[in-house]
């Protein structure tokens, strides 16, 4: 059995916990509950013929790269950077958290999730900003923990990338 640790990184209230709950339990609740510390969940995912146990580390929101504890990242095979499409500042925070994560973990696979795609009429992140990020060869996936849009795709894509690295 292959086990991989994934960290959820992002500012507060971007939907990290909701994304994990949607992926693991297929549950969503509108009420916001802040995360303190870290909560670890498990989910088994089949990628190709390989069964992989994902350990999902849902970290409390980090407002600066210095809020992100390196010890939480230890042993992670990949991470999901989460930003809230309706709050542009959360994208900038995700960008600075990525630097911190890469400094700690090295070049492990990661994806940028623009969450709350059910509220695109309220989005502050526009095509120009997306294009600038995509120019860095980052993969961006729009997600909605509320509707489930893009959630399975996000975790599966990251797992595939981690498995490519694992196998190759």
């Amino acid at each position: 059995m292959i086990q991989k640790k994934i960290c959820m990184l992002g500012s507060f209230a971007v939907g990290k916990t909701s994304l994990v709950r949607r992926f693991v339990e297929s549950i969503y609740t509108d009420k916001y509950h802040t995360t303190v510390g870290v909560k670890v969940d498990k989910k088994v995912l089949n990628v190709g013929e390989q069964e992989t146990t994902l350990l999902l580390w849902d970290l409390e929101g980090a407002e600066t790269e210095y809020d992100l504890r390196k010890s939480y990242l230890r042993g992670a095979a990949g991470y999901l950077l989460v930003a809230d499409g309706t709050r542009k500042d959360t994208l900038y925070r995700a960008l600075s958290l990525q630097l911190r994560a890469e400094e700690t973990l090295g070049p492990v696979p990661f994806l940028l999730l623009l969450n709350k795609s059910d509220l695109t009429d309220m989005w502050e992140i526009d095509a120009r900003e997306r294009a600038a990020i995509e120019q860095k060869n980052w993969k961006i996936i729009d997600t909605s923990a509320k509707t489930g849009h893009g959630v399975e795709d996000a975790f599966r894509s990251l797992t595939e990338k981690m498995m490519e690295k694992h196998n190759g």
Partner: protein, 290 residues
């Protein structure tokens, strides 16, 4: 700590037991469990067996073992619903010690404060959004008001022009009426107003004199079309282009008089007509003096 007297050390141990529920696991370099103890059950960690792979059994330890050197601190790890532990990993004598200390109360306190702080921050963001939406709506409204004001100004200018034109028309009409009134009063010709039923309701003095009636007769209604022109079937003509013709009228004294006569529709009172009469047998000056 080494020079603390026995009772103090015992008190600290008791206090730690009571407040921090210490628990431990001792793990070999291959991740196998060597020993465990303390209040592990309060973190809902159970079913431990010697040599079991700790990383498989305790998810948050996966990927952390073996610890090559130094120590790792994982604050506030949720080990079960509403149960949190501060987790310390450190290496001593070729094995890794894992120490858990209860952090649940600390987390609860911090959670309440953090929740409140973030709720306020999110509300502030919402208000900022609303403010921006209102500002945009206000800008659109101001733009619309500007457009409508411009349209209104153009309408006002157009109305003022129409009003000025109306005043000019009115003045022209008054001038025309004044000119006609002077013609009416000059008694150069007989002028008479009548309706489609043959009722004569206005006349100048010349017309009255031509037919031998007084103004008092006119007021009393003695002057009617049937009396002055009984042989004419129709009262005037509906043809506005009616030509001047010779017509015989009956005077009050029942004598007959032949007049050059024409009628025209009265523009301001549709259905009524104006008649113009000139005596070609007797000049006006002669009549006036007779």
């Amino acid at each position: 700590m080494a020079d603390l007297p026995g009772p103090i050390r015992e008190f600290i141990d008791a206090l730690t037991d009571e407040l921090l529920a210490p628990a431990f696991m001792l793990v070999s370099d291959d991740g196998g469990l060597i020993d465990w103890g303390g209040a592990l059950s309060s973190y809902e960690i159970g079913g431990m067996e010697e040599n079991m792979q700790v990383g498989d059994h305790v998810p948050f330890l996966m990927g952390l073992l073996p610890l090559d050197s130094g120590s790792v601190f994982l604050p506030k790890v949720q080990t079960a619903p509403q149960v949190f532990a501060d987790v310390y990993l450190f290496r001593r004598h070729e094995v890794t010690w894992i120490l858990l200390l209860d952090a649940t109360d600390d987390v609860k306190k911090r959670q309440a404060l953090q929740q409140r702080t973030y709720d306020i921050s999110l509300r502030a963001t919402e208000l900022e959004h609303e403010g921006r939406t209102l500002y945009d709506a206000n800008s659109r409204l101001a733009e619309r008001v500007k457009e409508q004001t411009s349209e209104l100004s153009q309408t006002v200018v157009r109305l003022q022009q129409e009003l000025a034109e109306g005043r000019q028309i009115e003045q022209a009409l008054h001038a025309s009426e004044a000119r006609f009134r002077s013609l009416f009063d000059s008694n150069v010709m007989g002028i008479v107003y009548f309706d489609s039923a043959g009722n004569i309701f206005e006349s100048n003095d010349t017309f009255l004199q031509l037919l031998g009636y007084s103004r008092d007769d006119l007021k009393r209604g003695l002057l009617t079309w049937s009396q002055i022109a009984p042989i004419v079937a129709e009262v005037g003509s509906s043809n506005p282009q009616e030509t001047l013709r010779q017509q015989e009228f009956i005077r009050k004294d029942q004598t007959r008089i032949s007049l050059l006569f024409a009628t025209a529709p009265q523009i301001e009172a549709p259905g009524n007509r104006i008649g113009f009469a000139i005596s070609f047998s007797q000049p006006k000056s002669t009549q006036a003096s007779s």
